[in-house]
Symmetry: C2
Subunit: 405 residues, 2 copies
């Protein structure tokens, strides 16, 4: 008998019928003789609806009250899921984050878990019952209800799996696993059977939407194997686990793209120490996250500095640049929202020098210009025009033969 933590997202419990399908899926696992702990998100788009209601009621929305409001969504879902389980003859009890012993800091709307005391969860399991825990919530050191932020239910699931020494943590979502590329862009994309925490984190950073990056970091830190799969099929999904030294790593595991970034360039910057530092310190002070940074080779003692920020930060970043331009002696600046990044990720890249060349040749053959480049030991990212990124992903997916078994 194994202990499994199963996480179900909002789409999986969007209405009464899906709620019953999820209950049936949990019941089957229980009947196969496993112990199950469930972490569930709010139904469908309820979190968004609650936030919208808040904006209708008030311009001032304190974090403490927002958290109290939002967590009502998971509370509904967990109680309903328990009823559906009882309907199938499976005894189940719902638990709020507080009742589940999920203790957090006081940083409302994005609280961090500081400790887990799952006494009531263990008691329920020992009594042969299925504990259903409200996702993304906990109780702070001030005894206030806290919300862990979007994607927080994944974190709840992983945290519980760790605290309960579960054999696995299953993340049920609306996709049937992690793919070699977004199947909407690349029809022949293949589901990845197994990927290492490091690769998954690089994929998340490069724009892979599922699972939530924070939960993967959490899972890696505590060595909790994740199984990402679909709530509506019984086929196995993707296992995310420690890298297995026995197994030869795929050179390239996946091609990921991201269209959420924009590019800024400061031109004719004097090539002196501290100039760039100045710029990025101010950006940091305004809490603008910079992703990629590139500095051209210096010509006649001046250089161009390009960097990318999220679209929603573009305006603020542009203002900072305009502010500092004269100050740092730049000759001008440009901002460009129409870019996208395409990345290849693979643990085997470390030991394969040819990969970079293959990526550049492939994009060149497609007539796709590379505007910026950034690398890690297992990731290679290029900035290209937004309107060609899908073609870039398709050609790279072919070039590295990812569609093959």
């Amino acid at each position: 008998m194994s202990l499994v933590v199963q996480k179900f997202g909002g789409t999986s419990v969007a209405d009464a019928e899906r709620m019953r399908i999820v209950a049936d899926s949990v019941a089957r696992t229980v009947r196969r003789g496993h112990q199950v702990v469930v972490a569930v998100s709010a139904m469908g788009k309820e979190t968004d609806e609650l936030l919208h209601l808040a904006t209708e009621v008030s311009k001032v929305r304190p974090g403490r009250e927002l958290d109290m409001l939002i967590t009502a969504g998971e509370r509904k879902a967990m109680a309903l899921l328990c009823m559906a389980l009882h309907d199938l003859g499976i005894p189940a009890d719902s638990f709020t984050g507080s009742q589940a012993g999920i203790l957090t800091d006081t940083d409302h709307t994005r609280a961090k878990i500081v400790e887990i005391r799952p006494d009531r969860i263990r008691k329920a399991l020992d009594a042969g019952r299925v504990p259903v825990v409200g996702g993304a919530q906990g109780v702070s050191s001030d005894k206030d209800v806290t919300f862990l932020g979007r994607g927080g239910t994944d974190t709840t699931a992983v945290a519980l799996a760790h605290a309960l020494h579960a054999d696995a943590c299953e993340i049920y979502t609306d996709v049937s696993g992690v793919f070699t590329a977004d199947p909407r862009a690349v029809p022949e994309a293949r589901r990845i059977k197994r990927v290492s925490f490091e690769e998954m984190l690089e994929m998340c950073a490069a724009g892979c939407p599922k699972p939530a990056m924070r939960s993967v970091e959490f899972a890696r830190t505590y060595g909790v194997p994740l199984h990402v799969r679909s709530a509506f099929t019984w086929e196995p999904g993707t296992w995310i686990d420690e890298e297995d030294p026995e197994v030869e790593q795929a050179i390239v595991s996946a091609v990921v793209s991201d269209s959420s970034q924009a590019k800024l360039t400061v031109t004719g910057v004097p090539d002196r120490p501290g100039i760039a530092a100045r710029l990025f310190r101010v950006l940091a002070d305004r809490s603008i996250n910079v992703d990629m940074i590139e500095q051209n080779v210096s010509i006649h003692g001046t250089t161009d500095i390009s960097f990318t920020v999220a679209h929603e930060d573009l305006e603020a970043a542009t203002a900072v640049v305009a502010e500092l331009e004269g100050d740092i002696g730049a000759t001008g600046s440009t901002s460009d929202p129409d870019i996208a990044t395409v990345s290849i990720v693979g643990a085997g890249m470390k030991t394969q020098p040819g990969v970079t060349a293959t990526m550049f040749e492939t994009l060149a053959a497609e007539g796709i210009n590379i505007e910026m480049i950034s690398t890690s030991s297992i990731r290679l990212t290029c900035v290209v025009r937004a309107d060609v990124v899908e073609r870039a992903v398709q050609s790279l997916h072919r070039a590295f033969e990812l569609e093959g078994v």
Copy 2:
């Protein structure tokens, strides 16, 4: 400076706009220099909607999970009301029943309050903040979330007023107070300025819908003065308080009607001790509540027994009667759903023998037949045909000159 507990029902916070109106009303009281504690119900019909959702999801609905589900409604309302208060510059914190220290028994869906430890509420008040407490909820001795039942927010308000030694408990509702008769039936009905707990309880028992009887009993037990008023007008409503011996009591304070009852009659019952007892014991065992009972004068050793039950219990009660008929040697039985009760209530009746005669004469003058009668020291109730009860109320309201100032 006085401390006031203000209760707002679901209609008062049905949407974002009303929520802001309620916040404004609370803010005005605070600005007049009072300390305010708010107890709020779920928005509009949300409790019904949550219960409906539960029936869609499952046939089995354990009380523990129903309470977890339903209390999500008040949780939303209290958080939103706090935001609206912050918007008006009034610092406010929401508290669940558990956080407010409302400890209950484990009788889910209709839990009883066993103790109140409002430490966090007091702390918030001392800090100059407005505590907004989720109505009708508490935490059980098993550390589970409990629901106090319909009308439970009134109970929460009264219980908090008692525990905090509040100067008054204001029940804001969709009516502007307690009236001498239902204004829909009697346009000239007058709002009652002051009524005693005893009179109010008799009126609740006789069919007056607001306030919830349980909260009035609670208020009487702990001597908490209630002020029933409208959330949408600033006019004073009705005070419910101890009887004031200094003030001469009105002979009749109000005329109340109730169409929720049906009548059963068992005919030709042998007039022997224990026969009636037998019948009502079985009814009690099936938890069928009997309101009025009347036994005719015995003729030739047999008698007819008539009693009233709620419409929803009529079928079950009829079955019981059919079951026992032969057993108790009755000759037959009839059930009659088309009845209604009309009652006059007044503390002064005790000392006024003429009242009964006036009531009977008034109904007789209207050609209204009285089918059953029941009395208490301050209430007189008659069963009449359902289709004439409105006329009965109108004529009695005139006869006792209740429209006068």
